[in-house]
């Protein structure tokens, strides 16, 4: 295979033909930390060349799923095939073909960019002139050429993330798995990082899995799986998920939300949910509903907001809970 670009999928040795094998095929995965279940009967599959987002609040199980898919933690129950390899039985063959980006930095701040990449390459059995060539290619591709000889600890947060990506891509993986890749990045750096991922998919046909709790990031995925309390509650393209929400979303805050909900039910035959203390109504032609509800109950209403559904609304629609409410601290 050519050292300067990611090889076409069909020429990868030992790989089954790309068209017939899904990048990821997972069925019935459950996992628990002692008594506490982290994943419950999760099944899904990901096609080659797809950017797949795992969306969920902290504690939803996405980091656990990341650890299983990246071979960091062995599978407890269920089946998983990644790039045609059995996750449990063939993890060392699989490791050569996947690239992993962690939430916490895995680059060594006391080493230069080039040194970090060199160590990574040697861990994957790459050395000598081929290693030099790969490092040169990756720093050029991620715009790090000017900083290759600098210590990583002197780089900005955005550049450090690019080094993480350069490192994960050095051995030309066919599948890239990222855990919360935009942690600690400002919005501009996050968009920049996402563009690199899209470029990777479009130019190299790489498959990408990322976990995220950023809606903006999830919107740019080809498909997303929504994880809630260890269950995969939905899996679809972002637009399709948003279409599941019935029309527009109207949120009303009131001094007495329960009383207002009952009145809406009695007088307007509208079913409203109380989410986090405010009323939430999904309606087609939401603007008309806003007008009606303000005319009828103007005295009891504090604020009314109206908008097209976002992925946050999708999450509320699916789980009845707000995305950031009740999120538990969970590093796993």
């Amino acid at each position: 295979m050519s050292p300067s670009s990611v090889a076409p999928l069909t020429t990868v040795p030992n790989a089954a033909p790309a068209s017939t094998v899904a990048a990821v095929d997972v069925s019935g995965i459950s996992f628990s930390y002692g008594e506490r279940p982290a994943l419950r009967d999760v099944s899904f599959s990901i096609a080659r060349g797809e950017i797949f987002g795992l969306l969920g609040p902290n504690g939803g199980g996405k980091t656990t799923l990341f650890k299983l898919l990246s071979t960091l933690v062995p599978l407890e129950s269920g089946q998983a095939h990644i790039l045609g390899h059995d996750l449990t039985l063939e993890s060392s063959a699989l490791r050569r073909r996947i690239g992993v980006v962690f939430q916490h930095p895995s680059v060594d701040g006391l080493l230069t960019v080039a040194e970090n990449l060199a160590h990574h390459g040697r861990l994957y059995g790459i050395s000598g002139s081929r290693l030099k060539e790969r490092i040169a290619t990756m720093v050029a591709r991620l715009g790090l050429d000017q900083r290759a000889a600098d210590l990583v600890q002197t780089l900005s947060g955005g550049l450090k993330r690019r080094v993480e990506l350069a490192k994960a891509l050095l051995h030309q993986p066919e599948l890239l798995i990222l855990d919360e890749p935009s942690t600690g990045l400002d919005p501009a750096a996050r968009r920049d990082f996402l563009s690199h991922l899209e470029h990777l998919r479009d130019q190299d046909g790489a498959t990408i899995i990322l976990t995220t709790h950023h809606m903006e990031e999830a919107e740019r995925c080809d498909r997303i799986g929504v994880l809630h309390q260890g269950r995969l509650v939905a899996i679809a393209p972002p637009g399709e998920l948003k279409a599941q929400v019935g029309g527009d979303v109207v949120a009303i805050t009131a001094a007495n939300p329960v009383a207002l909900r009952d009145k809406l039910q009695q007088r307007m035959h509208v079913t409203a949910a109380i989410v986090d203390g405010s009323l939430r109504v999904e309606r087609p032609r939401g603007h008309e509903f806003v007008r009606d509800v303000v005319e009828a109950f103007g005295n009891e209403i504090d604020t009314v907001t109206f908008g097209k559904p976002t992925l946050e609304d999708v999450f509320v629609h699916l789980t009845g809970q707000r995305f950031h409410a009740g999120a538990q601290q969970d590093g796993r």
Binding site: V73, R95, R96, H104, L110, E115, H120, L123, S127, L151
Partner: protein, 261 residues
């Protein structure tokens, strides 16, 4: 180079590269034992003579090899703490998902940690004249080799602990209850003979006793009479080397089974 050698070698090289950029850490691990040695040695030299100590040396000289081992121990403890942190939020995360076997990871870590411990302990050799020990070339070579073996063994003990625990919380207890007593009972402070029977047995069963003895005998090479009442040199070397190999094997085994991340 074949796979595991290249892989372990690159992990070793990383430690050397880091070492070159944080010299203060090395100076720290060297200075603390140096100060202890000088204070304890100078203070106790006049009044303190444990039973069974060779007749032609003073207590300052007697303490010298033990404090070389303390340099090695402190650095090994540091390697342990940095391994735990490295695995949770650092470079080691990506090593764990690379196609490298756990025993190869442990070998790279152990060689790296041992080298980092060995370099400051060699600075101690320079101070030998201060302790009244004039070292022959042969003694320096033997001592340096034995220090490398002990450094490797102690680093492997540190790694054995590091691969078992999830956080560095509670590590101080492990250090004070296991690592420091191993050092205290290694013959660093007093000879085996002349102590209560229970302590004698504890010291005889302590593998580090033989490491310290081999180092001591290496340092006294050519100084007749200095090595009385200690296990034989060849036997001590053999035990120390076997100990290092056993600690590596255990650390590799623990690492292979570890899922503490």
């Amino acid at each position: 180079m074949s796979g595991p050698v290249l892989q372990a070698g690159t992990l070793w090289l990383r430690e050397i590269q880091r070492f070159r950029r944080q010299r203060s850490r090395v100076i720290g691990s060297f200075l603390q034992p140096l100060v202890f040695w000088i204070l304890l040695g100078a203070g106790l030299k006049a009044s303190f003579r444990p039973a069974g100590m060779p007749p032609d040396i003073n207590y300052f000289q007697y303490l010298y090899p033990g404090f070389i081992v303390l340099v090695l121990l402190f650095t090994a403890i540091f390697a342990t703490i940095s391994t735990v942190e490295d695995r949770r939020e650092g470079f080691l995360q990506s090593v764990l998902v690379a196609p490298i076997s756990r025993p190869a990871i442990v070998m790279g870590q152990a060689l790296g940690g041992a080298t980092l411990a060995w370099i400051p302990s060699c600075l101690f050799l320079v101070l030998a004249p201060l302790a009244g020990i004039s070292l022959s070339i042969g003694a320096v070579i033997v001592a340096a080799l034995m220090m490398a073996v002990i450094a490797f063994a102690l680093t492997c003990i540190g790694l054995l602990i590091a691969w078992r625990i999830e956080s560095t919380q509670g590590f101080h207890a492990i250090m004070n209850l296991i690592l420091i007593p191993i050092w205290l009972l290694s013959g660093a402070f007093w000879p085996v003979s002349g102590t209560p029977a229970v302590l004698q047995w504890a010291m005889r069963l302590n593998p580090l006793t033989y490491g310290v003895a081999a180092l001591r005998e290496g340092l006294y090479l050519g100084h007749t009479g200095g090595t009385a009442s200690m296990p034989g040199f060849a036997f001590s070397c053999a035990v120390a080397i076997a100990f290092a190999i056993a600690m590596y094997a255990m650390a590799a085994r623990v690492a292979r089974r570890s899922t503490a991340f």
